[in-house]
């Protein structure tokens, strides 16, 4: 399965004899130093069911048909704005706010780009390492596009494979926050996502999602249950814990609006901008402020939580 047009075209390049010539020589100057390792990515084997990251085209399609499609069109009735801000080719780091106990926002953003974007691109979403330790999640999340949030993984996806990567810099802090704190962005980690985008020269596309907070509001965190079960977090929601694990896919029918904001270019910030920690923090802070403002604007102007 061709996972993205970018990869497919690179395969064609790799088969032509010129690919053996180091790119620095092809560029005209005398070949010095390292060859570009991007020329040596493994080719695509069309017979494969699962790609190198563990994404299964078949399983993802099944998941899409049975669940995501229903939620996207009927349950959340997603409205998409500014999809033209998502790059049509080349890498892109999508940065979004995170909310809800088991957030539906990742699924909906991925669906929006794979269905409504003119290039129908696929998105890899960064997930916490602890999911890799949970049986079931460890098996299923990579199949639908989840990739462990490791800096080396982000770099390979953006720089080498030139894909779209979706990240929630609030991380677990975003999903833990209570309903009374809705639409108030948490700290954006240590700015690692900005650094990753700078190293790859990838544009950062901020995303504001409204509605996910109301779809699965968290009223409290159950400390005792967390200790007993050893789960990463145990929120009290309208459906959890009394419906058990079934509750993970039980959402209230809030209306979801996803707005893609104009991209922030990182390739024009000078030579090795990631060395400049204050610049990294500034960019990270600016992106957070942009999303926060946009969220307040959208919440203020929306007609209703449900329609």
């Amino acid at each position: 399965m061709a996972s993205s047009t970018g990869r497919a075209s690179r395969r064609d390049v790799a088969e032509t004899p010129d690919a053996l010539v180091p790119t620095s020589a092809a560029g005209g100057d005398v070949a010095v130093g390292e060859p570009d390792l991007r020329d040596f990515l493994p080719g695509i084997e069309p017979e494969r069911q699962v790609d190198d990251w563990g994404r299964s085209e078949r399983f993802a399609a099944l998941f899409d048909r049975t669940l995501v499609d229903f939620y996207y069109h009927l349950w959340f009735r997603c409205t998409i704005e500014g999809l033209e801000n998502v790059p049509a080719d080349g890498p892109g780091l999508l940065v979004s706010n995170h909310s809800g106990a088991l957030p539906p926002d990742a699924m909906m953003i991925m669906k929006a780009i794979s269905d409504e974007h003119p290039r129908r691109r696929e998105v890899s979403v960064l997930i916490e390492h602890f999911f890799k330790g949970y049986p079931g999640f460890s098996m299923l999340l990579p199949k639908i596009g989840g990739v462990a949030a490791h800096p080396a993984n982000v770099h390979r996806l953006l720089y080498d494979e030139r894909r779209l990567v979706l990240v929630f810099p609030e991380g677990q802090k975003g999903t833990e926050k209570l309903f009374k704190d809705r639409y108030r962005l948490r700290r954006f980690g240590r700015g690692g996502f900005v650094e990753a985008a700078m190293r790859a020269g990838a544009p950062i596309v901020p995303i504001a999602v409204v509605g996910a907070e109301e779809s699965q509001p968290v009223f409290a965190q159950l400390g005792l249950l967390k200790k007993l079960t050893g789960l990463a977090y145990t929120p009290l929601t309208p459906t959890f814990p009394h419906f058990g694990l079934l509750a993970t896919l039980m959402y209230l029918p809030a209306k979801l609006t996803i707005r893609f904001l104009p991209p922030v270019r990182t390739d024009e910030m000078g030579e090795a901008p990631w060395e400049d920690k204050s610049l990294v923090q500034t960019v990270s802070h600016d992106i957070r402020a942009t999303i926060q403002e946009e969220l307040f604007d959208m919440v203020a102007k929306r007609r209703s939580v449900w329609f």
Binding site: P17, F40, L41, V50, G54, S138, P142, N153
Partner: protein, 423 residues
Amino acid sequence: MTSKRILITGLSTYWGGRLAQALERDPAVEAVIGVDRRPPKIALERTEFVRVEDHHSLIRRIVQAAEIDTLVDTRLVADSIVTSPRLAHENNVMGTMNVLAACSGPDSLVKKVVFKSSARYYGCEQDDPGFFTEEMRRPRPPRTLIERDVVEAESAVRDFAEGNPDTVVTTLRFANGLGPAVRTSYTRYLGLPVIPTVLGFDPRHQFLHEDDIAGVLEHAVRHDLDGIYNAAADGVLVLSEVVDLLGKLAAPVLPPFATGLALPLLKRARLPISADMLQHLRFGRGLDNRKLKATGYRYRYTTRETVIKLREHQRLSPLTRGMRESYRYEEEVEEFLRRSPSVRRGAPPEPRANLAAGEAQAVPSPSAPAGYADLDAGEVIALLASLEPEALTALREHEAGHAARKAVLAAMDALLARPRSAV
């Protein structure tokens, strides 16, 4: 190729034998000497076998007497089914230190050391990256004795490299090998009729075909690769797909929690699952193999093709059992064949059509080799990486004078412009 007199430690290992076989066919190689505790398992033409323990002074005497310029160390045991942990430690850590000590010193003629390491170096943890690159350190301390051995052996190699800056030191970290002739815990595990997996996990696996193991070692001998290189086939498969390709069924019977406690039960049930494999069966591992590919090596098989080859072998092996005569090393016979004046040793053996490395034989002739004109540009470029700079210069002149194909000339210039150590 600068390596002419080669010592292979661990000749009785599969890859040690295969490497000796490939090297002794090359007339440019003056001498191939193998040392090991056990005799070699495959027939060798002119390789000299010396039965010796990994003893520092004995190996040093061989190295000096034979004026060895290249040492290939293939002894590392990274699989607990081969020996007991204690013997493995002797072999992996003490043995490596002894072998390296035999090559160091101011009067040493050794110009290159190739060390076969294992991807076990990286371990297998929940917070691993998807693809390990050579600069990465393992995120956590080793879990098992074998893993600790690999880490310690590599640190001995690193110390050696720092102490001998003029010596080219290549460390090759191999992924799990698969193939008809190698016997590892994975070939046994995948040979089960139904393959037990850990419930709720689908780890990513990357393998390396046995031909590629030998090919990578040969590539490292023929080219000067300084530093650490991952050796793993293209493509990372999830275990469920591996099982599917083998045409078998996966049984998710291993409990996801407290798997370690279930280990004695597994032993009782005679399942070939060792403590080493448990982490791997949960989280898997992927290697970034591009650094080695950038030096010109082309893998013959992808991971998928490796698994398919294994399936073919698994299906045929019940039918062909006992049909093939296995080789047995007899000291007197080998001595006779190599030393006796009655044995006719005339023409040097013909170079094989396809080398194990999957690269073409380099013909260092001043003019173009026979049949050169028949090759098209793509084929010529594919061969270039295996040529010595002198041969390449000569070939460039020939090309410029005759066909003068632009793509070919550009590729040649690029290769010539590269620093020699990188080629």
